[in-house]
């Protein structure tokens, strides 16, 4: 049984994790709005890692979320980000993207930390943590996709961004709506 002292300690941990995720989100948006918006290499890397994070976070949510609505949202994230993973891989095999470095096959430290925080979230806080992270992550992805669509230096990847941007914009809206409902 958790003592008051343990509860306080746990609460501080969660607050720190949440702050760390928020800071990571700011860093991510800054990156998405600079190199990620124009450089094909930076865009492709960021997009690939973003998809990997969404699929991994979605799988955790399917296991641990309490709300059926959150589980349904997580399933949709897995499906949609699997589609964008496949589309990006296909784009990278085309002549139109020749010379752009290969996509990463592992997540970066920042997104790994977010997944660690999600995994560590207590059962009664899991859904809120997932939704907070989803809103942060999707704000970053929306910036990345819309930025590259409008200013990117590779036509094929601009096409990919143009196809993906509306999907992630709907994701963000849905996550914000879910968070408001469950608050």
């Amino acid at each position: 049984m958790m003592t008051q002292r343990n509860e306080t300690h746990e609460g501080l941990h969660r607050a720190a994790d949440k702050a760390s995720d928020a800071l990571g989100g700011m860093v991510g948006r800054a990156s998405a709005n600079s190199a990620g918006s124009t450089s094909a290499a930076a865009f492709a890397e960021n997009a690939a890692i973003g998809d990997m994070y969404e699929i991994a976070a979605g799988k955790l949510a399917l296991q641990h979320a309490r709300s059926d609505a959150v589980k349904a949202a997580a399933l949709k994230m897995i499906q949609d980000h699997t589609t964008s993973t496949q589309q990006l891989r296909s784009a990278m095999t085309m002549n139109e993207t020749k010379g752009i470095p290969a996509l990463p096959d592992a997540i970066d430290a920042r997104r790994k930390t977010m997944l660690d925080h999600l995994q560590a979230a207590p059962a009664d806080k899991f859904d809120a943590t997932y939704l907070d992270q989803q809103i942060l992550a999707h704000k970053e992805t929306v910036d990345l996709m819309t930025g590259f669509r409008d200013r990117g230096d590779n036509a094929q990847l601009r096409s990919f961004a143009a196809g993906t941007a509306p999907v992630v914009q709907r994701h963000l809206k849905h996550m914000e709506s879910l968070k408001a409902q469950l608050a």
Binding site: T93, N95, N154, Q156
Partner: protein, 423 residues
């Protein structure tokens, strides 16, 4: 050999309309016609149908009266061309015989396009589809015997195209999301890729429409159900191929690309045609298309400010689309990719699909209770003692399909069976 449609003069549009008797071409004789003449007639009908449908779709979305008038004018000429081409097919060529011709088109057209596709991803798209149409040819060839047609499929196709199992049709049935590929961009793709894609979309769309409309005409229940099943796959092929087109292409540029494609194909038909009478039709229609292209480019420049010189290759095209055997190429594609399926925009071996992939549920749903494309082979064996095949270059390259074209001995089948057992 090269051809630049932008530098050639066509027949002025006001001189293109013909009388009924001029349009009612003398059909070919189904027993004498060269198989590839039949193929050219079939494909150019598909090209004209796409020209007409594309024009109608554009007209529904454009408010500019001047553009609508140009579309209507050219569309009338395209409609007449479609009749002149499609009426070359004789009434005495049965639906099933014509179907064999359609599938020979699918195989050898896709074979040429795949071999001449510069982009590695788009090449995969063609190679994926070709093994399915190859199998459709084999299934329909077996049906042809069961329908009492007094000739064998190889009399339609000549010795130009082998008739063997491809990727068995039972395995073609996929969730709709798994037909959507990665589009090219008009801006950055090779121009040949654009020509290839418009061509294949037109051909597959025509095949889809054909089976959708004639599949219910036979009384024979085996025929009705096989056409039904394969018609569903042809729709998948339309989704598959149309998804590689650039969806952001402005309407009038799309029209100009279609007209350029028609010029390329009529030129291709003209330079490769062996029948002198039909060659003349290709030449006349090419002269008409040159004018259609000129009108489309003029309107595109005036309305959208797009300069044709910025879009089309400076020196035109050099390779005519040619109907020719693709036997070695097909055997190679079979050996390399038979066991592939599609997952979103990627092509993967079926045994690499995740256990919960939507492919398995979709297969279980549509294949419940018996599969016409399997039954047609079983019935042929029952009635004739063996299945029908036509091989000119040796045994089938896939061991599990050497003796039998039904699915049960294949690795594909074993993967699905394992999934059902573990489900």
């Amino acid at each position: 050999m090269s051809f630049n449609p932008l530098t050639e003069r066509g027949i002025p549009i006001e001189r293109q309309f013909r009388s009924w008797s001029e349009l009612a071409s003398q059909p070919y004789d189904t027993r004498d016609v060269h198989p590839y003449t039949r193929c050219r007639v079939i494909v150019m009908n598909g090209i004209e149908v796409e020209a007409i449908i594309n024009s109608h779709n554009a007209a529904r979305r454009i408010a500019d009266t001047g553009v609508k008038q140009m579309l209507a004018l050219v569309r009338k000429a395209e409609q007449q061309q479609q009749k002149a081409v499609n009426w070359l097919i004789p009434g005495h060529e049965s639906t099933i015989a014509n179907t064999i011709g359609y599938e020979q088109v699918a195989v050898d057209l896709t074979g040429w396009l795949a071999r001449h596709e510069p982009d590695p991803y788009l090449k995969q798209v063609y190679e994926f589809g070709i093994l399915e149409d190859y199998d459709h040819l084999y299934r329909y060839a077996n049906l042809m015997d069961l329908m009492g047609e007094r000739r064998k499929a190889e009399e339609i196709t000549g010795d130009l195209t082998e008739i063997l199992p491809g990727r068995p049709t039972i395995f073609h049935h996929r969730h709709p999301h798994d037909e959507l590929r990665r589009p090219m961009t008009v801006e950055a793709s090779d121009f040949q890729s654009i020509l290839n894609a418009i061509t294949i979309v037109s051909a597959e769309q025509q095949t889809m429409n054909y089976y959708m409309n004639v599949g219910n005409r036979p009384e024979n229940p085996m025929a009705r159900s096989l056409y039904l099943e394969i018609a569903m796959v042809e729709e998948q092929h339309v989704s598959h191929y149309e998804s590689i087109l650039d969806p952001t292409t402005p309407e009038l540029l799309n029209l100009a690309l279609h007209e350029y494609n028609e010029c390329w194909l009529y030129w291709s038909c003209m330079v490769t045609e062996t029948d002198p009478r039909i060659k003349q039709i290709w030449e006349t229609h090419l002269a008409m298309e040159l004018e259609h292209l000129r009108l489309a480019c003029e309107m595109m420049k005036e309305v959208d400010g797009i300069d044709p010189a910025a879009v089309f290759p400076k020196n035109g095209v050099s390779k005519p689309m040619t109907f020719e055997p693709n036997k070695d190429y097909l055997r190679d594609v079979l050996a390399r990719t038979l066991d592939n399926t599609a997952s979103d925009s990627q092509f993967v071996p079926v045994d690499q699909l995740a256990a919960d992939h939507r492919f398995f549920d979709y297969q279980a749903t549509v294949n419940a209770g018996g599969v016409p494309s399997e039954m047609v082979i079983q019935r042929h064996r029952e009635e004739f003692g063996e299945e029908y095949r036509f091989a000119t270059d040796g045994a089938h390259p896939i061991p599990s399909l050497k003796e039998s074209g039904t699915a049960e001995g294949t690795d594909y089948f074993r993967t699905i069976e394992r999934h059902m057992e573990n489900a």
